[in-house]
Symmetry: C2
Subunit: 449 residues, 2 copies
């Protein structure tokens, strides 16, 4: 009887197999740290005052020891604590699909797969890092977390994670998303968090921004300033960041580790292309770093493509230099592709991609030529998202639509050239709370920023 | 290697196992028809003119032959067509969880499990019937489907299913839900359907209702009248119903078949209690009829509890008699527990439960004492839903909260009595699109209807 339940057996024997869902025992036990395998070391974060590489004590006011250690770690594998692993069980391993109906809709010769993170508690990959962040804060004795959020994916993830570990959670949400996507802050509140629109009256940074830019719709950079300030003023609080930093990228590598295994269970030896959306970079890093490891070890030659919005094109149009992560210059200096901390993007619907910079690790890999990048306008992204919804029955997050659009371009090119590449898409989340953006697209009123 | 992937092995060997996700090869191949096993035959549907039992030709204007045959079938097992099975693969088998964190939050001695239908394309169990309904219409040559929807779960399911089989789809949505839950109709539109608020100006029934009740917020009974009228006037169209009828209950039995298998994989021989929400009855029928089969065969003694809203208490406060399914008296007469076709419930948030009657098969089972029923007010339901969200990381649909509240009552009772029953909850859907109702509950402004 037992053998009937084995996806490893079924994947190769069932010609219609649509998905591979691993058992909990197949969940990764460690996070993968790409730093251990990079040909050149990534530039360190710098202290904004001294311009010298950060030492752990520089971060002690903001982060707990466990996360500071991970931020600078060069160990290849970092064990996932049992308490975190137990919570991951609620939604991990996440499913991995062969997009058979999307292939049919495109009439493509490519084989398209996607890894779907939308079945998590908040409908995105963000809980993969929120849960360990809350855990390491809890064991360090912190009782409160502060953070910023754009579309609300990260905020709701941290709200859930804080609830799990009994921490209070205060969230500054970019005003345009707070007002345009009202369901998201209700989700955060359902998980027990407090949410305000940023810039707010609750912080010095927020009050100053409201004087300087009375009509601003906010930005992630502004919201970060507020959350950092609030944490810095409260010794029982930590600040928590949903993307950009090395430890966040690290936590997300559970995605790529699972995807590699699941792709293999479909009988594929490797992927030719991997498309993932990139805002701050955590989703891209999470799915791609395990694939990049295969490339660096000579076991694969997967072309990894970061898909960013034309409205915030940090990789494709930014400068590679040290910059602040926030508007108020409260964060360490990070070496990254950046549009400058004062950059306020058009109010593109993919709120999670509206960031001025790109994760230092992703930036380094891009600078070294290890990954590629393209920028897409939002109408092309939503056209692909609607096609995907109708074929696969999953309405993707606005952010994920950028990756799908990149993959659709590639599949069409392959068909024209008579090739059959294996294309993997990282679908970072569900779009059930992005439906107002779909309404605009369907009504033909979406700006093509 | 293979054995590591087998949930059947792992379920008993992993003390922290949180969920069992079966492989696609474990999906049911047949729908289960409870009629074959009932001790007494359920009363037939009647022709509203002749008061005689319906013959297949009476339904030919509304439904395709495949569904008419299923409506009257007494066969125990009805094969799921390959084309339907292939689409089920997109989200089935659905996951089955041990609610370990809910148990901890309650401090209960009970073992609580739940079957979760919220990971389907539209976030509910409704696609289980929408897909076969669209399929049997397609092979009968119909090109258009009409339907009604309350909260929008059924409408979005039929919108998706129509898209899959290339049918056009027109949906009348109860006005209170259309206006109060705007994301839902965008979801239907994303899948390619047309949606109007009911009562509408598009049908005679709708126009008459608007004259008679100018301020009405609509009801499922009214919306059914409109959709039935539209289909009856168009020979290329069929009407499609998301609950109540025998063939809908039949399609939903994939839920209970999977749940039985998954419960066994957790090492449980049977359930002591099964709680499921009941509006029209399809969710309740789907999860419970396979359990009821076990009871009838003497292999189990599961107490099956229908959880209905106090605002539309058809089982607990209705009359068991022949009644119309709609306001305009266009449907066949159905023997059911009913509050009367003119009943307009308070605008309770669980739109999917706002129906005046109960599926004839469920009504018959209730009348025969094979299942129990309780009615719950919505504040108790949402209190349980918030508790569940924070523990399990899944925000349940408003409807599902009624089942969770029933199970929470039972778990507390068991704890007081020092018993350790196995409690299974049917969580029929996700509440991501019900967040405005959660907002009201959290703000303390929800009416306790």
């Amino acid at each position: 009887m037992g053998a009937r339940f084995c996806p490893r057996v079924l994947a190769v024997s069932d010609p219609k197999q649509t998905k591979v869902v691993l058992d909990e025992a197949e969940m990764p036990t460690h996070w993968y740290n790409i730093v251990a395998d990079l040909p050149t070391p990534p530039p360190p974060h710098l202290h904004p005052g001294t311009q010298q590489p950060l030492v752990p004590s520089d971060l002690a006011g903001l982060f707990p020891p466990g996360l500071i250690e991970q931020e600078a770690s060069t160990e290849r594998w970092i064990e996932i604590p049992a308490e975190v692993h137990d919570i991951y069980r609620l939604w991990r391993p996440s499913p991995f699909y062969r997009a058979r109906r999307l292939e049919q809709a495109l009439g493509t010769t490519a084989r398209i797969y996607y890894k779907y993170e939308g079945a998590s508690p908040v409908g995105s990959h963000k809980t993969n890092s929120a849960v360990p962040q809350a855990y390491f804060n809890k064991i360090a004795g912190r009782t409160r977390l502060t953070t910023e959020t754009g579309a609300g994916q990260w905020g709701s993830a941290l709200a859930f994670a804080s609830q799990v570990f009994g921490l209070s959670c205060d969230i500054w949400q970019v005003r345009s998303s707070y007002e345009g996507k009202p369901y998201r802050h209700v989700l955060m509140e359902t998980f027990g968090a407090s949410v305000v629109a940023s810039p707010s009256e609750l912080t010095e940074a927020g009050r100053a921004l409201r004087v300087q830019f009375p009509d601003t719709t906010g930005s992630l950079g502004m919201a970060i300033s507020e959350a950092v300030e609030a944490a810095a003023k409260d010794p029982s609080a930590s600040y928590s960041l949903g993307s950009v930093l090395n430890h966040v990228a690290l936590h997300q590598t559970v995605i790529g580790q699972e995807a590699l295994k699941q792709l293999e269970l479909f009988g594929e030896t490797s992927a030719d292309y991997l498309f993932a959306c990139a805002g701050g970079g955590s989703n891209l890093a999470g799915i791609s770093f395990p694939f990049l490891r295969e490339n660096l070890a000579g076991r694969a030659a997967t072309k990894i493509v970061a898909c960013e919005p034309k409205a915030a094109p940090s990789l494709t149009e930014g400068e590679y230099r040290y910059d602040f992560g926030d508007t108020a210059h409260l964060t360490p200096l990070l070496k990254m592709y950046t549009l400058g901390p004062d950059f306020v993007p058009d109010p593109v619907h993919a709120g999670g991609l509206r960031y001025h910079g790109m994760a230092p690790l992703v930036s380094h890999c891009y600078h070294e030529g290890l990954i590629d990048a393209i920028a897409l306008r939002q109408r092309e992204a939503f056209e692909a998202g609607v096609l995907f919804s109708r074929a696969e029955g999953i309405v993707p997050a606005s952010e994920s639509n950028h990756a799908i659009a990149g993959a659709v371009r590639q599949a069409r090119r392959a068909t024209e050239e008579g090739e059959s590449p294996v294309i993997v898409i990282g679908v970072s989340g569900s779009g059930q709370l992005d439906l107002p953006a779909y309404a605009e697209y369907l009504a033909g009123t979406m700006a093509d920023s």
